[in-house]
Symmetry: C2
Subunit: 195 residues, 2 copies
């Protein structure tokens, strides 16, 4: 069972994640975090001595959770089915919030990569892991003759992750599911599943 | 010839664009803008009464410039060549800054879309225009039998813009050209140009 301190820490992490995802890191003040969590300032600083350390902890926590969720999203009988189901799972996740907020990693990548190397390292880990995970399935698909696209699996996997992140961004901008849906349809044709 | 006032306004717009692109809107203070432009505070507020109005003017100015540059990037003899040359042009633009900063529209989309409707409207205009422009070329390609991908042109055009934006994001995160390159290679296979 988590201690009271761990519970408070987790509560701060979850509420801060929501604020950072919705508003960005730079636009979120410590006072907003205090208001959202109901935690006293001294207690907040006890757990996270600076806003930057809180930001790093939120990214690390979200990364770990994403890796678990990602792994569970590769369901299906074939490598190609696993990739498409994983894409559909991401669509379902994004629809839960109606695309408001979008992807914390993508947001932070664009907001903080150049200005904060610590944040940049975690974002690189997330995208590297995601690309390599899809690449593994593409290699299996190629070995079993299910993949006709001649691009190297790493190239194709990189493009698939980019297309998903770009689709999440566009769906957030237009507030409809159509953009991410278009991206998943195009990923299907990339891996040779013509409708 | 621009008046002195117009020159000052343009100077503020260009310097603010650099800062917003590099650091994000929320992370850039009015004092940093004053330091970067060398313009006195009173003069800055004379041209732009609030940071938000400055942000909107920077986005509008960058949008107009992008539309001109985009149009000039569709070079080549066939619709498919035009799309690929336009993608390659965007790669060349991003390489000029070594992917530092990335795409102001993408950055602002992720930072400000949910919290600022005015910013959101301009970002929607940019992406709508870009998608429709590629869609036009895809329709011409389909009419001349050069496009075998069965997806509707609007769907494919949406995925192409998403893939480019995602590629710019990943190249910014990893600080190499490989990610955006992978995306352009995948766009080539999407529109049936196998290497």
């Amino acid at each position: 069972m988590p201690t009271k301190g761990q519970e408070t820490r987790n509560h701060i992490l979850k509420e801060s994640r929501k604020l950072f995802t919705l508003q960005g890191f730079g636009n979120t003040s410590i006072n907003e975090i205090i208001a959202a969590t109901g935690v006293k300032k001294g207690n907040l600083y006890y757990h996270f001595p600076s806003k930057e350390e809180l930001g790093l902890a939120v990214l690390t926590d979200t990364r770990d959770e994403f890796f678990t969720i990602l792994e569970s999203s590769f369901t299906g009988d074939t490598p190609v089915a696993k990739i498409i189901n994983s894409c559909n799972f991401i669509m379902a996740m994004m629809q839960q919030t109606n695309f408001v907020g979008g992807c914390l990693f993508g947001n932070t990548a664009l907001e903080m990569t150049d200005s904060n190397p610590g944040f940049g390292t975690i974002i690189q880990e997330v995208f590297s892991h995601w690309i390599v995970r899809i690449e593994e399935e593409l290699r299996l698909a190629a070995q079993s003759g299910m993949l006709q696209n001649q691009l190297p699996p790493h190239t194709l996997a990189t493009a698939i992750v980019a297309t998903l992140e770009g689709g999440i961004m566009l769906s957030r901008v237009f507030r409809t599911r159509h953009e991410l849906e278009a991206c998943i349809l195009s990923i299907r044709t990339l891996i040779n599943l013509q409708e």
